[in-house]
Each structure stands twice: as structure tokens, then as C-alpha cells.
Symmetry: C2
Subunit: 339 residues, 2 copies
DNA sequence: CTGAAAGCGCTTACAG
DNA sequence: CTGAAAGCGCTTACAG
């Protein structure tokens, strides 16, 4: 059913019905109620394309995901939070899949030219990220999940990655550890750089030199955690503790530690950053896992809010947040073994 | 830039430009080439809303995900395959998040009434699934990932879940196991029912009675695999082998087995269904994990094809596929211990 | 408080 | 092979 039919059923003009539905003030209260009731009854909804054409708003937020890698648990949780908040406004998420940065840029151009989305959420900014410049020049509103290094008129939300790893590393140092392995993301990703700084700063505070062999870079997956940890354990001078970048890499690390015949906590301390996945809780691991905690789902929900505010005209400069990260000490971290 | 501006740049009518771009045959070859080149040069793309209004096609496929649970690794992989194929046609995925079946149904109504998507992909059908009936009555084209029990004019793609678990269970029975734990999905989900039948049939073939205590139902997560396996290991009459529903539950099962001081393969055989996640390979587990294998990413890609065919007018009845599942024997399954 | 009509940017039957 | 114009279904300035 379209507006014309719906309006004629109500014996009102399209104008009045449209205004009643959109909450314009100049409609008589009784008329509005009648229209609203009828809309529910007949299931009338404006055609999105017509609405988009008339208003320029299409009710969709775009997110571009790169092939295999980025479609993992972190993205899922993030999108869960994003979608959950957006759903209340009946805004949907438009997902485009690409397999290269080049294709990603082409997709932004396409989305902008065809006016397919109202705004974009950009994730995992990296150093000299061409996406930021492109989106700016395309005049596509966007919010960044993460913290770009470039200045510009865009909002962003990031967690305090420096502090997360700084706290974790300091905690281990306080327990007497000096050989501390570090499972980080790929270099070039800004969050990974911040974490690296947190790690190095904590070590420097305790006058411990950085050993590059104790730093592993990779995706935050079980498999990478496993492989990188196996690498650590093959070192002549093994680490006595490990900081893992996520719950996934921590699980892989635990596997590698056990397979090596070692025990987490007794032989090797382990702490991880926890994005708070509903299906894997650090309390229930054996031993329970010390973590730095920040809900990536909550971040998604907040970014949805920020997008809505942005579209309502709030200046992007006012949409910037750094979320603190909480250290939660459990059983997996213990004083270093005196040999 | 819109059609009008773009056409005037080329000194052609909107009609001709539109036809050249859409590949209509009645355009002179030289004209078409000129238009296509200029489109790339100026980055012209038709406005999606206008296109949707004029043609009824909006270039988006809808998928509705339920809150936390469904946003996991399986969905991610599936959507990766779906999006990758759709991307070639510049079709995007519209994701709506809901937190109840009621909200899911409401979302389909909204998507249909507002003409927001061209088709839907429905996943994990369950017994007496109201979504199927609703989508049919809304005349929203859809393809089911899974195999509904209801008849109707819709296509679907499913893997042979019966065979997957039947093969896995028979393999264990052939190795002499008689107490076989089974980590299944929730009852009511059709795939879980098929798997249950595969399990029961295999046992029946070997005259082994089903022990309900050896069947666990839950999400396919590390955590559920862990908990359910711990439950199995607390039984007076422990299983000597376990069939896990996914790699995730297998990882949880392995944790539980190790924590109980047992060894996979030596003390307890383990086999899992592998949806082929790029970041967790059964070969690299210790011991390497026997699996039944079927790529959920490939299923997503194939469903994208089916959606495209459906939209091109192919009868839904011709869009039905059951994919075989391959048994891959590795080190985690071994002959039962004679005590 | 309500309505007639222009306009958003396309496609496509119709005419040439 | 090309073009003028109607129509897709809305919103909203303008008029009353």
C-alpha cells in the first residue's frame, strides 16, 4: 500500500498523512492519532526509496568489511551493539564486503555516489589511512571506531589501548616478571601502536629492556595466539608471563602453554585484553584469567548514538571519546617463580 | 552528480545515457563506450533511491540477526561468503538486529512494507517456523540457509547434517566406542534434529542404546562445549568419545578434557563438525582433530548465487541443494582403550 | 489545521 | 539509434 491509497482510505490528503506520520506539529491531535492507528492497522510504511529521494535520508549506516579477516568475533560483537541501538530508530546496517583496501575505497565512492547510506562507521584506522581522507572528500559523514592520527572534522571513539597494556604489563612487573611476552596486533594499526607504547613504557618504568623476540604481531585469533606463543616457548630465554591482545589469542596461548607441559599461573602468568564476548568468559577459564576489560559491544552501541547525533547536526569535533579500561586480576597471574 | 548533469556533459539525453549504462541493446556501440568511459571518469552512479523507485529493485539483500547469539563466528563466515559473491553485482547486505522472534517478524514486515530489500536470506529454520509463512505472505523473495520442514515455493541450501553426524558416530563405533557423548545444537532447530537422527541411527545400527545423559544441547561456543563436556566427565559411566557440533565446541571440549587430566585420543576420542573457519584449523590442533567438513563460507556464496537466480525469475523450486559432508580422519580419534 | 502541486533522480513505453 | 515526457512514492514550500 502506498501513501495515496492509505490517505484515501482515511479520506485525508497525502500531505496531512505524511505530516502526521512524521510527527510535524501542525497536525490536529485527533487526526494524528487516527493516522497513527491506521498505519499500524494497515501496516503502512513509507517506501524507503521514495523517502530517500525526497529527503536525502535512506535510513542506513554503512560498514565495509574486508574479506575473511575482519569478519571475526570482534566485528560481530561490535556490530551487535551498533545494530541493537540503530534498530530502535529503524536504521539498518548496510554491509559491503571487499577483499582489498583498494576495493574498500572504491566501495566508499560507490556508496557516496549512489547515496546508499547516511553515514559510515570506519574501523581499525591505521597510520596514513587513505580512507579518512577519501570519506572526508566524499562528504560522507563518518565516525571512526578507533583513534586516527590525522586531524579532521570527524568523530571517533576509542578505548585507552595504551593504558590497557600499560596496566597489564605493570601488573606483571609488579609480580616480579621481567621476561614478558606480548601478543599484539599488526604494526601500522593505530591501536596496536598504542598498545606497543603501553608495553614499552611499562617496561621502561621498571628499567627492563625490550626484547623484540618477545613481541608477536598478528590477528587476534586462537590460531595466531597458539603459534606466536609456541614461538615464545621455543626461545632459549622463555618468557615467564604473556600479555595477550584478546580472549581469542589468550585461548591459543593457553593451548600452547599446556601442550608445552607448562601450567598457566604456576609456570607462566597470562593476562589478556577482554572485549567481553558473551560466549567466553575469563572467570570460567582454568585458571580464571586476569584481564583488562572493555566491552566492544558497548562501544558499538555508543558509536550508533554518535552517528545519530552526527546526523542530527552535532559538530563532529564534539563526538570524541576515549574509554578507560579496567584491570581485573584473577588467578592466571602470579608472582614469578624463583628458580 | 545526477543523470541530468551527467547527460548534459555528454550532450546526450538522459534516456540514452541511462540505456547505455544499463546495457540496453539499442544504443550505438560508440555512444555506449563514450558513456561508460565518462561514467568512470566523473564517478557517476545512479542514485539508489531513484533507481529503486523507478525499477522496484534496491540492490540489497536482507538478513536479520538475533542479538548476541547469532552474531557469532558461524554467521560471520556465512556472511563473508554471501557478501563476497554479492559484491560483484554491487549488491549489499542489509543487516537488521533484533532480540526476539517477535521483533524479527516485525522487521520482515517493515522491510517488506518499506521495500528496503530485494530478497531475504533466512537462516537456521526451526520446527513450525513462523518466519517462513510470514515471508511467503509478504511476498518477499527468500532463500533458506538450512532445510525447512514446511513445503512452499522457496529455495533452500542445506548441508547433510544427518550424514555428518552419522559418519562421525559410525567412525567412533567402528573404533570400538560405545559410550559416545554428543554436543548438539538446541532442540527444535532443524539441523540439530537431523544431527540427532544421524547420531541415533548410527548407534541403532550397532545396537547401542541412546543414553540421554550423553547428549548435550546448546550454542556452538567454546564455553558451551566446555560446560557440557565437564558434565559428561562427571558421569559415573563417562563417555570414551565425543562428537562435537562445531570447532568452537570442540575447543571447549578439549579444554575440559585436559583439565580433567585426560588426553584427547589416548583417553578420549574427539571428532567435530568443521565449518572451515580460516582462523582455526583442525590440522593444527594437538592432536590434529578428526572432522566432518563443509565450508559455511562456500554455502554463503552459493546462497548469494541462488538469490540472484531467484531475482532473475528462476522458480524457487529449482533452487534446492543438499551438500554432502566429508569425513576427515586425523589423530584425535583412536580405538577405544581396553581396560 | 489542511491540501494541491512541484520536485527528488531515475527508467521506460511511446514516438520518431 | 535517440529523445521528450510520464510515472515511481514520497516530502514540503506555498497557499488558504
Amino acid at each position: 500500500m502506498n501513501l495515496k491509497e492509505f490517505a484515501s482510505k482515511l479520506e485525508l490528503s497525502q500531505t496531512t498523512v505524511s505530516r502526521a506520520l512524521s510527527g510535524y506539529p501542525e497536525v490536529k491531535q485527533s487526526t494524528r492519532e487516527k493516522v497513527l492507528r491506521a498505519a499500524v492497522e494497515f501496516g503502512y510504511r513509507p517506501n524507503t526509496s521514495a523517502l530517500g529521494l525526497a529527503t536525502g535520508r535512506v535510513g542506513a549506516i554503512g560498514i565495509v568489511l574486508k574479506g575473511g579477516g575482519e569478519f571475526g568475533p570482534h566485528t560481530s560483537e561490535f556490530m551487535g551493539g551498533l545494530g541493537n541501538r540503530l534498530q530502535k530508530e529503524e536504521i539498518d546496517i548496510l554491509v559491503s564486503t571487499v577483499d582489498s583496501t583498494e576495493a574498500e575505497l572504491a566501495t566508499y565512492r560507490r556508496l557516496a555516489a549512489s547515496k546508499r547510506v547516511d553515514a559510515i562507521v570506519l574501523h581499525s584506522p591505521y597510520i596514513d589511512d587513505p580512507r579518512i581522507e577519501l570519506l572526508t572528500s566524499l562528504r560522507l559523514p563518518f565516525i571512526v571506531h578507533g583513534r586516527p592520527q590525522t586531524e579532521g572534522a570527524f568523530g571517533w571513539l576509542d578505548i585507552d589501548n595504551f593504558s590497557a597494556v600499560h596496566q597489564a604489563t605493570r601488573h606483571l612487573l609488579d609480580l616480579g616478571h621481567r621476561r614478558i611476552g606480548f601478543l599484539n596486533g599488526y604494526r601500522g594499526r593505530i591501536f596496536a601502536e598504542h598498545r606497543q607504547e603501553g608495553y614499552q613504557t611499562a617496561l621502561a618504568d621498571h628499567d627492563v629492556a625490550v626484547d623484540p623476540a618477545l613481541i608477536g604481531n598478528g590477528e587476534f585469533t586462537d590460531e595466531m595466539g597458539f603459534r606466536l606463543t609456541q614461538g615464545f616457548l621455543k626461545l632459549e630465554n622463555q618468557p615467564t608471563a604473556i600479555v595477550a591482545g584478546s580472549m581469542m589469542s589468550a585461548l591459543g596461548a593457553m593451548r600452547a602453554i599446556r601442550i608445552a607441559g607448562l601450567k598457566v599461573s604456576e609456570d607462566l602468568s597470562l593476562i589478556a585484553h577482554d572485549d567481553v564476548f558473551p560466549y567466553i568468559s575469563p572467570e570460567n577459564l582454568m585458571p580464571s584469567l586476569s584481564t583488562t576489560r572493555s566491552s566492544i559491544r558497548a562501544a558499538g552501541a555508543r558509536i550508533a548514538d554518535m552517528l545519530l547525533e552526527l546526523l542530527q547536526g552535532k559538530p563532529a569535533q564534539e563526538l570524541r571519546e576515549v574509554w578507560p579500561v579496567e584491570l581485573v586480576i584473577r588467578r592466571s597471574t602470579a608472582a614469578v617463580l624463583q628458580r
